[in-house]
């Protein structure tokens, strides 16, 4: 999603105009939440990521180091760094049985466990990629960004983004096969 007259909005945000900041939050926080949730698989962590992202954005504005354009790319870059830091701090966790799983007939606990396990595997495979590779895949194949937008978020040329995308897909394919083999053992 792009905001009409983003530069004007940014200019108002830099003077801490509450309406402009509110609009920025409403516009970008849902996508940032989705982004964080996909990678982290946890609502609370995703909310933390969103909150920290916007807090860092404010601090950047205050110190006059905020973006002059590409606000969306800027915010996603902050969120991306947050997730990367989180990965460094936190070891991958295993899927745990949860007694609170709902027991409806349509979604039996064992099916839900399979679903969770599968998601965990994909997240794990994504986690083994380099941060930039992961960013490219998520922004392009989940958020539907164009290459030039991804390039802005990564602050890399479009050609580099394509190369990253190629390597990311290659590595991801291998990792998924490896994880599949391990889970079948």
């Amino acid at each position: 999603m792009t905001v009409p007259n983003e530069q004007n909005l940014l200019r108002r945000a830099k003077s801490f105009d509450t309406d402009a900041l509110g609009l920025i939050y409403d516009t970008y926080s849902p996508a940032l939440y989705r982004y964080a949730f996909r990678l982290l698989g946890d609502e609370n962590l995703a909310e933390d990521c969103v909150a920290d992202t916007f807090s860092r954005f404010l601090k950047a504005l205050q110190s006059r180091q905020g973006p002059d354009n590409f606000m969306k790319a800027y915010l996603f870059r902050i969120a991306h760094n947050w997730v990367t830091d989180h990965y460094r701090r936190q070891a991958p966790t295993m899927v745990e049985l949860d007694e609170s799983l709902p027991g409806s007939d349509s979604e039996k606990p064992e099916l839900q466990m399979d679903d969770r396990f599968e998601k965990q595997q994909v997240r794990l495979a994504l986690r083994t990629l380099t941060p930039d590779q992961r960013q490219v895949l998520i922004l392009k194949y989940f958020e539907g960004w164009q290459n030039d937008e991804v390039a802005a978020a990564l602050q890399r040329p479009v050609g580099a983004v394509k190369a990253l995308q190629h390597r990311a897909l290659e590595t991801l394919g291998k990792r998924l096969v490896d994880l599949e083999k391990v889970s079948q053992q």
Partner: protein, 376 residues
Amino acid sequence: MNPRDELDPVIAGKLKVLDDISERSSQRAADGKAAFLNESVMLKKGVSPEASRRHKNWKEQPNSNFLVRRKELKPMISTVTSIILAIALLLGGSGVTVAAAQASVPGDLLYDLKLLSEDAVMGLTADPEAQLDLTLNLLDRRADEIQTLLDSGEVITDDVQTQYRDQIEEAIMLALNLPEGQVVQAFERIQTRLQTEEQIMLQTHTNGSETALMSLTQLRDTIQERLQILENGQANLLQIQEQLQNQEQINNPDQKSTNAPTDAGSDTAPGTGDGNPWTTGTPTPGSGYGSGEGSNPWTTGTPTPGSGYGSGEAGAQATDMVTGEDTAGNGNASIGGSGNGGNTTTVYYYTPTLTRTPRPSSSGNSQSSGNQGGNR
């Protein structure tokens, strides 16, 4: 066109599982927005005056202009200045005395003053690298003092040896606290100093007495042990930190541990404390480390196999070592079996590792510290 259409179907299928995102709670989204806007209001207000109005030795007056603005008559006295003044006053207000004390050696009247002034300087040094530099210089001082004593035919007391050893250990501790990338380099610096001092001591002549010769040998042993530790520590930085912590606890059992045994005889029973909250790894057979009932709060990392330290189960092992049987076949199992029956003074005999003791007073007696006799 969906970008995923161009993907390998297997990968596309796998990625699809992450499309399912649990819906964001509208309440949490609203809370998040409110917090964000609150923060923006706080940041907008700012917490300090703009740079041009900050205090910079200029006195701000309500109606001040360029002509009446003047520099403060009495600049604020900094904390550091206050400390320096306080020390100077405590020492009788005479810098001359302190300067004179710098040439003193252990046993002199002014030697305590010299140590005090060193502590004060160290206390005023905040930068870790500068602290290490200072400590290395103090290490050289201690070595020079020993040389002076030996040259004048005096005996090196246990206190002097302890001071020297403590200075080495302080340097090692400071090196360990440096940023990760600088630790190895700092270790190398300490090693170089110690090697130089070892060479000097090898060429030192004593008054020929057996006591002096023994003191010198002990000093050389101390240096060699520390050099060995530094060498090993470079390969395993974590291990050296554990050794320091363990040894510190042995030397100062009353400072931190409420589980310190009051009776050496109780060592014969395994610890019965609350377990070892710091070691969660898998015990290594024969290492004396395990998750027994003893409480050893002084081990922060995974024990080295064969080192024998750990929690309760090794208490009996420690007893064996005290009696010289060393059932595990590893003489360095000094801290095994902590908890209520754990850290004992008797196991010092088996600990040729780092020790830290309070800096003794030169005017005090020359009583050997607990480990002092044990190590030798």
